[in-house]
Amino acid sequence: MDDVFSNFDLVLKAFGLTLELLVISGVLSLILGTLLAAFRVGPVTVLARFGTAYVTLVRNTPLLVVFIFVFFALPKLDVQLPFLLKGTLALTVYTSAFVCEAMRSGINAVSVGQAEAARAIGLTFGQTMSLVVLPQALRAVVPPLASVLIALTKNTSVAAGFGLLEATARMRGFTNNNADARTLIFLIFAVGYIVIVEVISAGAFGLERRWRAAR
């Protein structure tokens, strides 16, 4: 047990890598996912079909399979990337499909009447989108996006079996060396994950409150 507290810097470093994976792939997934959602609701047929195909393919693939593809198949094709990049790549590819669908649900939640009314009072297309449709859409996507990011937090633990020494991998090291304190070590690391997830939840709750509209 003392092993964990005297090596607490290792615990923090491991959670640092978990956060690194979470933040980098979170930001990239939000960008890629939003782009894919734009493809899917947009008027360009080719892009819409691409978006649909991507979501269908990736969302139906287990995350572990995505990881295996990136970590075992790419090297066999002579594609050598640094480990952190491979980890974020796998997580981003997977998560952006879910971000895309959350975004699309938000845009679809704004009734067509809103856009029509905006056009009727003389707003341009840009004004219609930025002043009327997107603010309402963003408000609707906060809860599902928070869920996607929370899932991503927990999904980073898959990287433990792929050469990345993040929190779960470090936990396995500690439990292996301290067979008598497994439960306690498990709880300590669980608390770390809970803290991260609670921060995301609180952030989402804050945004929801700030953007709440009088109806």
Binding site: F69, A73, P75, L77, L164, R172, G173, F174, N176, N178
Partner: protein, 297 residues
């Protein structure tokens, strides 16, 4: 797609090896079991006291033993094999035989490094013989008898690598199984630890050139090097001492003396040496003597 193909190729090659090794030591009758024939003690049940775990196992005629399934030479089971092969399963057969249990009546369960203590504590297995190093911490929660084999941590590299010993590891990427002590040891030497779920995944990373080296007990590495001697080699002197023991539940402390005595007896009548030669000995290492075993408290 290329990945799938080459994986299939590896699987086929592995199968071929398994079949040829079966043929090489296929003295056992009936075809289902392989490795060494161990003489089963038919009157075993009567030789143990009532109330002991040994008596219970001998009476039931069944035993469940946890072994590794992914360590060639130590404990390995291919997807189509009926039973695992390797030095650890051979030790299991020797112990089971002293209880009057035939090799065919042993239930083999895969244990990975992470679940060996929980499996013993919950009684999911009766014994763990799974490259299970004896440590003080582990002895706090489970019993460990032995050691029956000594090895040490070494390095597996691609032939021609500039890594010659543990001193060359600084800044290199070294893989092993996530959470293992081996990984901690190389981390302390300044290497970048890369943990994977299984040794075979780790070996693939070395073969593909993704990581510079693989590290774990020399016995395990020798098994992998023997499968691919043109590309892989084991380098450096051992830089740790691992003492493989037999794990049992703390609920049955009487098992310790039985395990120790049985291993001693196997060493005296040559069963231990035969088991070694049929498994780890194939990589060319000399058959060791049974090490000095710890006394049972």
């Amino acid at each position: 797609m290329r990945n799938t193909l080459s994986r299939t190729a590896v699987a086929v090659a592995g199968l071929a090896l398994a079949v040829s090794s079966l043929a090489a030591c296929g003295k056992a009758g009936g075809g289902s079991s392989d490795g060494v024939d161990v003489k089963v003690d038919d009157n075993a049940a009567s030789s143990f006291d009532d109330g002991t775990k040994m008596k219970e196992l001998a009476d039931s005629g069944k035993i469940t033993i946890g072994v590794k399934f992914d360590q060639p030479g130590i404990g390995f089971k291919g997807a189509t094999d009926d039973a695992p092969t390797g030095f650890d399963p051979e030790m299991g057969k020797i112990l089971a035989a002293s209880l009057g249990i035939k090799a065919g009546d042993i239930t083999w369960k895969e244990t990975i490094s992470d679940n060996r203590e929980p499996f013993l504590q919950k009684g999911e297995v009766d014994l763990v013989i799974a490259s299970y190093s004896i440590t003080d911490d582990r002895r706090k929660v489970v019993g460990q008898a032995g050691p029956y084999y000594l090895t040490g941590q070494q390095l597996l590299v691609k032939k021609g690598s500039d890594i010659k010993s543990v001193d060359d590891l600084k800044g290199k990427e070294v893989c092993s199984v996530t959470g293992s002590t081996s990984l901690d040891n190389v981390e302390a030497k300044g290497a970048k630890p890369r943990g994977f779920d299984t040794y075979s995944e780790c070996r693939d990373q070395v073969a593909d050139g993704t990581v510079d080296s693989m590290t774990t007990d020399g016995a395990i590495l020798l098994g992998y090097a023997a499968l691919d001697p043109d590309n892989l080699e084991v380098v450096g002197e051992p830089f740790s001492e691992e003492r493989y023991g037999v794990g049992y539940s703390k609920d049955s402390p009487e098992m310790c003396q039985w395990i120790t005595d049985t291993i001693k007896k196997a060493s005296d009548d040559g069963a231990y040496q035969k088991a070694f030669e049929a498994t780890l000995g194939k990589s060319g290492v000399d058959t060791p003597d049974v090490p000095e075993m710890d006394s049972c408290a």
